[in-house]
Each structure stands twice: as structure tokens, then as C-alpha cells.
């Protein structure tokens, strides 16, 4: 790369030589593969007879870098996880960048390289993309959109559709909740206290593949991102009409997240995760699934956190550590820090 180009200029997005250089010298350097190298307007993908899962997600996170990751890694994990929880094996990604004029080339490279690392990690191929540079002030540093395609095996077509859910089914999660949201919050400039919390940002497709390969009773999977675990559980009660009971003492929460939530007045159940999956399965296989999850590096702290119930239809209840019971509601708007 030309050393004088240490900042993104509007001409990096104009379709001309500068943009060509950016693609050749940065994006292809990290993303190169036979399909992408063709540089056609649309990628031509070898087809098979399986069903196809297709999703897209845009990433506008502030700050771009946070403990445990950055917007690049997140852009892969987010889309890969959306495919994986749908029962698909993620295969191909598109990556589109909207870059603010003046953005640091060095930071862009850091982001692009970790995006490529995470794609390798998840074993997905980046096959197409787009770059736009906008005038200063027209976007906040860098936005990324990724779209993803995955293939769905016949036997996994319904694993996320919440079919056949019934009272007695078990709810599992693959580890501690709230880490991503709190890590991002603590990385914000205006935040004056340091915390040891690290984002859980990770691609879950390998973990989910292992579960689906070894068991047959998964009835629902969802990654509890924005809105947290509470939002996913409430969607599920809405969908099934049954109630859900969560056992507070079984919920894995790190000390750092618990402490930050206490200080800021947040409920960890409302905080975003980027490397967690909630699974609903028949109770007969619960222990088996838990064993599979615990063996995976992303599931060491997996736990059975609750169950589907015929009581309080349509509502999610929390059995508190203190022996009381309360409702877990969907979050309204972003969580805001409170004063007392």
C-alpha cells in the first residue's frame, strides 16, 4: 500500500484506481479465495440440492474496538451465528464497507484482518463485497454489512422453528450472559471505570454442528444478541403460548458483569451477547446436549437454565435466588444507566 495513504479519502470509494488499489491491496490481501478472485459483480457459487439459508446484518457498533474483538470480527460472528441457529452450515459471506472519509487506514487494516481471521475460524468464504466512502460526518467512522448463505440439511430444517415445544422441555445456554454488552459499554470513551469484562463475540457454528450431529431433540435455537436473553425467551413464549420458568441461581453470570450491572442499574438478562445460543430441547436429551456443549471450547460454562411450563402462559418467570418469583419482561429501548 502507498505509505502516504494513511487515511481513507473520498476517492477510495469512487470506483477508479484508488478504489481498485484498496480492493487489491487490502481486501484481497486478506480475503483472497478462488471465487472472490474472479472479481465478478456477483459470485457464482457451486449449488447443491440442500435447502439454502440466507441472512444479512449490518454492524454500526461504537466503539469499533472493544475488549475481546472489533467490528470486523463481530461482522462475521453475527451473520455466521444467524445462519447457525437456523440449523444451517454457514458457507459464504458478502462483506460491504461504508467508510467515512478520513478514516485511518491502519485501523481499517486491523479490522479487515480480524474479519478474515474470524471467517477462517468459522470456515466461511468471503465471496463478494462492496466499498463506499462517504463524506466526513455522513457516517460514523465505519459501518459494515455482511450477508451470509448456508446450506440446511434435511434433518435440521425445523430445529429453529419452535415446533413441537411442550411443557417440560429444557432451556440451555452455552455460558455466561451479558459479557458483550458490558465490554462494549466499558470501552466507551466517556466511561470512567475500568472493568475486566471481555466480549464473548464468537462464531457458534461448530458448537451448534456438534450438538445437531449428536442429538435429535433440539426444537429451537436463537442467539440472544440485542435485547438479551429476556427478549429471546419472551419471543418464544409469544410464539408457543406456553410459559417459561428460569432459575436465577442456574444463570451463568460473571462477577464483572454482575458488578457492572449493579452499578449501572441494568438487568444482565437484557444485555447483549455475541457468542451465546439459547437452546430448547426435549428433557430426555437435556443432559446429553449439556455434555456435548461442555466439551466445546465455547461451552465450558454451559448450563440448564430453565424449562417450558404450562403455568403462566405467554409469560417468562424468574425463580429468584432468594426464593421469590418475578416476571422477565422484554426490554423497551436501549438500557440506560440510572443514578440510584
Amino acid at each position: 500500500m502507498n505509505p502516504v495513504e494513511d487515511k481513507i479519502l473520498l476517492s477510495h470509494g469512487n470506483g477508479g484506481r484508488m478504489m481498485h488499489n484498496l480492493i487489491e491491496n487490502l481486501f484481497l490481501k486478506y480475503f483472497a479465495n478462488p471465487i472472490l478472485n474472479e472479481q465478478t459483480d456477483a459470485a457464482i457459487l457451486p449449488a447443491n440440492t440442500a435447502d439454502i439459508a440466507f441472512t444479512t446484518d449490518s454492524f454500526v457498533i461504537d466503539p469499533l474496538f472493544f475488549p475481546g474483538g472489533n467490528i470486523g470480527k463481530l461482522a462475521v460472528c453475527g451473520t455466521v451465528n444467524d445462519l447457525a441457529v437456523s440449523g444451517a452450515d454457514p458457507l459464504y459471506l458478502s462483506v460491504s464497507f461504508i467508510i467515512e472519509e478520513g478514516f485511518s487506514m491502519k485501523e481499517l487494516e486491523l479490522i479487515v484482518s480480524s474479519l478474515a481471521d474470524e471467517a477462517r475460524n468459522a470456515r466461511v468464504t468471503i465471496v463478494t463485497g462492496d466499498t463506499k466512502v462517504v463524506n466526513k460526518g455522513k457516517c460514523d467512522k465505519l459501518f459494515i454489512n455482511t450477508a451470509g448463505i448456508g446450506s440446511v440439511r434435511k434433518e435440521n430444517r425445523f430445529v429453529s422453528k419452535a415446533r413441537d415445544i411442550k411443557p417440560g422441555d429444557i432451556i440451555l445456554i452455552n455460558g455466561a450472559i451479558g459479557d458483550h454488552g458490558m465490554a462494549v459499554m466499558s470501552a466507551r470513551e466517556s466511561f470512567n471505570f475500568k472493568s475486566p469484562v471481555i466480549s464473548d463475540c464468537a462464531s457458534l457454528n461448530h458448537l451448534i454442528r456438534e450438538i445437531l450431529d449428536q442429538t435429535v431433540s433440539v426444537k429451537f435455537m436463537r442467539d440472544p444478541t440485542r435485547g438479551g436473553v429476556a427478549t429471546v425467551l419472551n419471543e418464544l413464549t409469544g410464539k408457543t403460548g406456553f410459559g417459561i420458568e428460569i432459575d436465577e441461581s442456574a444463570l451463568p453470570i460473571s462477577r464483572g458483569v454482575a458488578a457492572m450491572c449493579e452499578i449501572l442499574g441494568f438487568d444482565p438478562l437484557h444485555i447483549a451477547n455475541e457468542g451465546k445460543v439459547i437452546i430448547v430441547a426435549g428433557h430426555e436429551e437435556a443432559d446429553k446436549i449439556l455434555t456435548v456443549m461442555k466439551k466445546n471450547i465455547l461451552g465450558g460454562k454451559s448450563a440448564i437454565i430453565g424449562r417450558v411450563t404450562g403455568d403462566h402462559p405467554g409469560k417468562v418467570a424468574l425463580k429468584t435466588e432468594t426464593g421469590g418469583r418475578r416476571i422477565i419482561d422484554t426490554l423497551t429501548g436501549d438500557p440506560l444507566p440510572r443514578i440510584c
Partner: protein, 359 residues
């Protein structure tokens, strides 16, 4: 001791619950004054641990709820002045004023920033000398000293562009006003963080003159259950007094340094409480020596006195006379997404707590 789990110990809570059930013979109504307590009581399911003799009612201790709509309309009006930055606690962002909210004004392009401490507002003022930075101060004796200390700092730093719009209030006058109004209360669960600043003498009248028990309490379930036990004991023995349950934080004389800041910067004024009207000497206004930092004295902003929203019974709820279920708007027209009254919009509001946690 790491303070995250010990005060949520199930065995201790259940033992306290058993003891309360054992000794409680007479019907008793206890008011938890503080919004933080209301939230904790719902969040930890305390109601389900009490015998039917005990009734808990929620008081007027949620700073957002009791801040008048007029104050909010004013904060919104200030945000519209060119060059003004509003720096605010997150609590105020979504509270509806008469026609708008700070959140909506932010979307409309006003410069509104969420801060965690008023000292951040000073920093913003220092870095942006061309802007006028206004901090709408809300809260009781708990948050007011931080505002006061910030004003003192601003004076030291000779800042020309930092201002406070004070809606700070003090706790005891409203508690006495409720008792004087005839609201049935047999004892108060008093906010621990207020007494961490003020000490406990502020409640002596309530015990000596009004013969009501007051127990200063923390915010964990063990704290609350123990405070309830202490109040029931007092009530059953007929010996009301002021006691501190929250001994790991509160000392009877309070925090002298914080008290010093409060009296240096603020003086008492008659103040308007949402739903409760004007209560004598219940609010804090900035003393003349610091008027340079008083937003009201440095900007020419007047907003009309708004009418309370139709059908909303926040006033009765803040008095502990009614519960959210008595309100025809509750959970139908008035929800956390579309709050009508302040008790719903604040995370500490009684209606929000009911909506959020009641099974």
C-alpha cells in the same frame, strides 16, 4: 466479603421471612419511600415472602417520577437554544414532557449527552468553551452533593459555560406531608443512600412526634427483609424509633463532607412535586453566591405550566393511596413503550416496577 451474593443468601432471607411471619400479629402498612427499594422489592419477589398482615406501599422517592413536568419541559426548552449541550443522567432521557422528550430532541438534532457523573459535564464544558453546557440536576440528598461539589469545582476552574438546572429535592418534608395528609402509614422503610449523606437525625420527628418507626435500609433482599422485621418488631412492641439496618454504609451522623457541600451551594425552597403539589422547604435551589452557575438565572427560558395527563393517577400512586392496577390507563394505554405518567417511564417508577415484575 464481596457484597454481590451475601445479601442475597436464600437461607438467611427465608429465616427472616419465617421470623416476620412468626411475630407479626397486627395488620401493618409500611411505606418504602425510595424508588430503588420499590424496584428491589419487585425484582426479588419480596411480597411473596411476607405474611398477609403486612402491606407494602410505594412512596414518592423516585426522583424522575416526582420531578414536575414543568421541569422537563424547561430542560427540553433549554436544549433548543443554539449552542447549548444538555448533559444528563440516563434516567431523564425518555421521560415525556408535555409534547416531547430529550430523546426525541436528540433525534431532532439537539446536542444531548448521557453522563454518569456531573463531573463529566464539567469536562465537556472545559473542552467546548464555545458551547453552553447545562446539567439538569435531579435526585435527593443522594445525588445533590455530587452536583454541589461540581458547582464548587466549576467556580474553582472559573468556568464560564457550565450551568445547573436544579430540581434536587430533600426527603423528610414529603414524608411528613404524606402523614399530615392522613395517608395510612405505620412505618417507613427509609432510603439508605439518603442517610449515608444526611445521617438519621432527619427522621427523629417522625418517631418522636408522629410515633412512626423508621428503619434506614439497604437495597438487597436481606436488607429489606431485615428492615421489615425490625419495623414489625417496633410496631408489635409499640415502641417506634429510628434505627439503622444498613450499618455497613450508614452512620448516624452521615457524611459531613457531603453535607458541607450541600449547605455551601444549596438552600431550601418550596418546591413542586409531580402529583403532590407544592411542599414547603422540600427543594434545593442554588444559593446567590453561585448564581453564576444557575441555568434559571442565566438563560431566559419560560415554559407554560402543563396540565397533568388525563386519567393518570400518578399523584395517588405516589401517595401510596392507589396501586397501578387501580389506574384505567395502566398496561392498556400506559406502557413502558408509551408511558403516559412518570411512574411508568422511570425505571424506578411504581407502575414500571408493577408492569415489569408482577407475575
Amino acid at each position: 466479603m464481596q457484597y454481590l451474593t451475601e445479601f442475597r443468601n436464600k437461607d438467611i432471607i427465608l429465616a427472616l421471612s419465617e421470623e416476620v411471619k412468626r411475630i407479626s400479629t397486627k395488620e401493618i402498612t409500611l411505606m418504602e419511600v425510595c424508588g430503588g427499594h420499590t424496584m428491589a422489592i419487585h425484582r426479588f419477589g419480596i411480597h411473596s415472602l411476607l405474611p398477609p398482615t403486612i402491606r407494602l406501599i410505594s412512596g414518592p422517592g423516585c426522583p424522575v417520577c416526582v420531578s414536575s413536568q414543568h421541569f422537563l419541559d424547561a430542560a427540553i426548552a433549554y436544549s433548543k437554544i443554539p449552542g447549548v449541550v444538555i448533559t444528563t443522567y440516563g434516567d431523564l432521557i425518555r421521560v415525556p414532557g408535555s409534547v416531547s422528550s430529550l430523546e426525541k430532541e436528540n433525534a431532532a438534532g439537539r446536542d444531548i449527552r448521557i453522563i454518569y457523573s456531573p463531573l463529566e459535564a464539567l469536562e465537556i464544558a472545559g473542552k467546548n468553551p464555545e458551547k453552553q453546557v447545562i446539567f439538569p440536576g435531579i435526585g435527593f440528598e443522594t445525588t445533590a452533593p455530587a452536583t454541589a461539589a461540581t458547582i464548587v469545582e466549576a467556580k474553582k476552574a472559573k468556568l464560564q459555560n457550565f450551568f445547573v438546572l436544579s430540581a434536587h429535592k430533600v426527603m423528610p418534608p414529603v414524608m411528613k406531608a404524606l402523614v399530615n395528609e392522613g395517608v395510612k402509614i405505620d412505618g417507613f422503610i427509609a432510603p439508605g443512600h439518603v442517610s449515608a449523606i444526611t445521617g438519621t437525625a432527619i427522621y427523629n420527628d417522625l418517631a418522636d412526634v408522629f410515633k412512626l418507626g423508621v428503619v434506614v435500609t439497604g437495597f438487597e433482599p436481606v436488607d429489606l427483609m431485615q428492615a421489615i422485621l425490625m419495623l414489625v418488631r417496633q410496631f408489635e412492641s409499640g415502641l417506634p424509633k429510628v434505627e439503622i439496618q444498613y450499618q455497613r454504609v450508614v452512620q448516624s451522623e452521615g457524611n459531613k463532607i457531603a453535607q458541607g457541600f450541600l449547605s455551601q451551594v444549596f438552600e431550601l425552597k418550596d418546591d413542586r412535586w409531580r402529583g403532590l403539589g407544592i411542599i414547603p422547604k422540600s427543594g434545593l435551589k442554588i444559593r446567590n453566591e453561585f448564581s453564576f452557575f444557575d441555568a434559571e438565572k442565566n438563560f431566559n427560558v419560560t415554559v407554560p405550566e402543563p396540565a397533568d395527563p388525563k386519567g393518570c393517577i400518578c399523584g395517588s400512586i405516589l401517595r401510596g393511596l392507589k396501586t397501578p392496577n387501580d389506574c384505567s390507563l395502566f398496561a392498556k394505554v400506559c406502557t413502558p413503550s408509551f408511558p403516559v405518567g412518570a411512574c411508568m417511564v422511570s425505571g424506578e417508577g411504581n407502575c414500571a416496577a408493577f408492569y415489569k415484575y408482577r407475575l
